[in-house]
Symmetry: C2
DNA sequence: TGACTTTATTCAAGACTTAGATTATGGTCT
DNA sequence: AGACCATAATCTAAGTCTTGAATAAAGTCA
């Protein structure tokens, strides 16, 4: 249904321009001729467009390829220092602020420890704002060169300018993080769930690269997720889709911290695994405690694999994805030791259709990709914006 | 990343034309002026486009609205007899072939009983082809006026020209139904899973109307489903997404006919409910048997509701849909008596986010909507095609 | 009848992509 | 070295498309 918006000739150019920019960004340096092939546009259009982009300094030349009997082709690429993106990871134990250039090379960072019990929203916001100033200074750039700030937070983020955050683990009921930050900076702001930002990092630069239909399952203390449908993140009607952690695997089963019972998170989140194994650990040494349980050969481990397999098979049946990426620190720890078993458990529950166990893979980016992923939110917006830039007319 | 195809100026018109046609189809009769508002196109564009469409006879005038102080507006609508669509429902007990005009009014029908045990592919194909001829004759139209044939079948349909069908209940392993039919007719053919076609009927004309993010859960002997994401059916990488029936609700639970364990279908499909209640019934009197069980107050009933609630809550967390539609004959029977309980069971498992129980609704179209939905596949293609028609140039 | 409204069409202008011609830049052959 | 060839990039003319403004059409109301 969805009346898909009328389109005018300008939209056309915008769309094509954005496509060309994406191709250049992900396809590395390429000649104008290569771009014709990749984008399907005619040489003429590519020529005028790259001309504009070069004039705007969004794109720069990047050497040339030796010819074999003809004019050598000039390579182009997105100007890595056209602008910068800041990514923020609001975690359980610290707030991390990192500055990236357009090629996602880290230029500066600032970390602030947060005492576990105290996640005062004001304090978190202040840390972020201080961090932003710090990385701008350390990176030796001006605020004007920053294209925006991406923030990854736990819990559910309501769409809207205030970016209301609900995060049980922080005791945040409806914290207007967006509003708090906007009071201290005028840079564009993009707030999203940390699992989603991490997932997007995997999608762009990690194990999910190149897929159109994928699912990221991100296991830390709890379990989060992200669904990629037709090449973009699926967010659902209220922007809350992808809560893989609360997929039910045992109706009426173990109580979950969300209040319901039998959620996947109540079995395969690190916190749940430790609880079931009878290990007491605070969030600081959760990692080593989990490693201990996994080594112990406890029956909890095989049960965990079973549950994860059941959950993943549900995902396969519902989404029929090309790939499932397991990430997050607990996911990487579990998957690193038991990937074969996880694949087998999933396959055992997925008989109805052809399913290749090896389409379940581990994330490549490690657990600290939340900030990186948050920065990609900025880049994403940049692609949309860059397409507009041309039509800005100044009144003298 | 999916390079989203370059666009040319022609694509623009195609897109806008298709949009206008859809608006007219679903928005009932409307004046050119109304269409400006709905589509966002300028009056000039609407005028030339409707001119083309009128010339092609795809659109016709439909009276006019009395003015109040100005030129009266002429109403337009899609020409209901511009063409016809045939919908086929390949069911357990019969093959139903129905002829619809563009407004989806039924014009003719032909049903053929199939003995339960014998689902010979050749025989089914012959029934369909005979039925097609029969309804064309009965409808008093010529084959040339038929825009296509949509077929809804059980099981999974592989994409491709052969339309390989895998249907356990029929004992079909890889039946090339598409190829079989194409041998007997040259009309365009669209084969899809029956649950999906039924879901599409609900989406277009039933309880799903107007939603962009919805889930259809279709319960008959087994359980099927369809996912609507951003206004269109989500099919996944291998076109097999939406298998709601094989969502796990109890890891390691009851064996399901798919071979795995603990699937939703193993608890809430009619066959499963009867089995669990210890009732023996063949497919002919499954309906009355199920009604009996539901009336009996057996504990199986409340367990069924629990399981369904668990499954639906998984769907809510994963997809965050605007609406969930329960359909299929068993679904309607169950939901007709126990909708409140089902809503409560779902809500009990969905504490983490705001969720309105009343977004779970019953289907409005009854169980015989498979053929109707199959016919919508033809209409959908018609929208795409009609946008092209203009550019056909004949060489004299 | 004439003033006023509202709807629909026509027209010139501006934006965009394309195919084909042209220019640019280097290699290769004699 | 100079003529010739191959490939890349740009320029040009043509064809589509949407749009806003002007114009035509078809009423109502006093």
């Amino acid at each position: 249904m969805g009346t898909p918006q009328r389109r005018t000739v300008r939209d056309l150019r915008r769309g094509n321009r954005a496509m060309l920019l994406r191709a250049l960004y992900f396809g590395g340096p390429a000649s104008r001729n290569d771009l014709c092939g990749v984008t399907g546009l005619s040489a003429a259009t590519v020529s005028t467009m790259t001309g504009d982009l070069l004039a705007d300094n969004v794109v720069v030349e990047a050497g040339q390829v030796d010819s074999d009997g003809g004019r050598p082709r000039v390579l182009l690429r997105v100007n890595p220092v056209y602008g910068y993106a800041i990514g923020v990871d609001v975690g359980e134990t610290q707030v991390r602020v990192e500055l990236f250039d357009l090629e996602m090379k880290e230029r500066a960072r600032a970390h602030y420890a947060v005492r576990s019990a105290r996640h005062d929203p004001e304090l978190v916001a202040r840390h972020i704002l201080t961090g932003v100033d710090a990385v701008i200074a350390e990176g030796g750039i001006s605020a004007g060169q920053v294209l925006g700030i991406g923030v990854g937070v736990p819990g559910i983020v309501e769409p809207g300018p205030d970016a209301l955050v609900r995060a049980k683990t922080f005791g945040w009921e409806a914290v207007p993080l967006g509003a708090l930050l906007r009071a201290g900076t005028s840079l564009p702001l993009y707030v999203d769930n940390g699992a989603k930002t991490m997932g997007q990092a995997e999608l762009w630069f990690g194990s999910g690269r190149g897929t159109r239909d994928a699912i990221m399952v991100l296991m830390g203390s709890g379990v989060g997720g992200m669904i990629v449908a037709d090449g973009s993140i699926y967010r659902g009607a209220g922007k809350a889709a992808g809560e893989v952690g609360h997929l039910k695997v045992v109706a009426g089963g173990r109580p979950c911290r969300c209040g319901a019972r039998g959620c996947l998170e109540a079995y395969v989140g690190a916190e749940a695994i430790l609880e079931r194994a009878g290990v007491v650990a605070d969030s600081a040494d959760e990692e080593s405690a989990l490693a201990g349980v996994l080594e112990s050969g406890s029956p909890v481990v095989s049960e965990t694999v079973e549950m994860l397999g059941a959950g993943l098979s549900s995902l396969v049946h519902l989404f029929n994805p090309e790939r499932i990426v397991i990430g997050g620190w607990a996911g990487l720890m579990l998957g690193g030791r038991l990937l074969a078993e996880i694949r087998a458990a999933t396959a055992a529950n997925t008989l109805a259709q052809p399913f290749h166990g090896d389409s379940i893979v581990l994330g490549r980016l490690g657990a600290d990709a939340v900030a990186l992923g948050a920065a990609t939110l900025v880049i994403e917006a940049f692609f949309r914006e860059a397409a507009f830039r041309q039509s800005v007319t100044t009144i003298a």
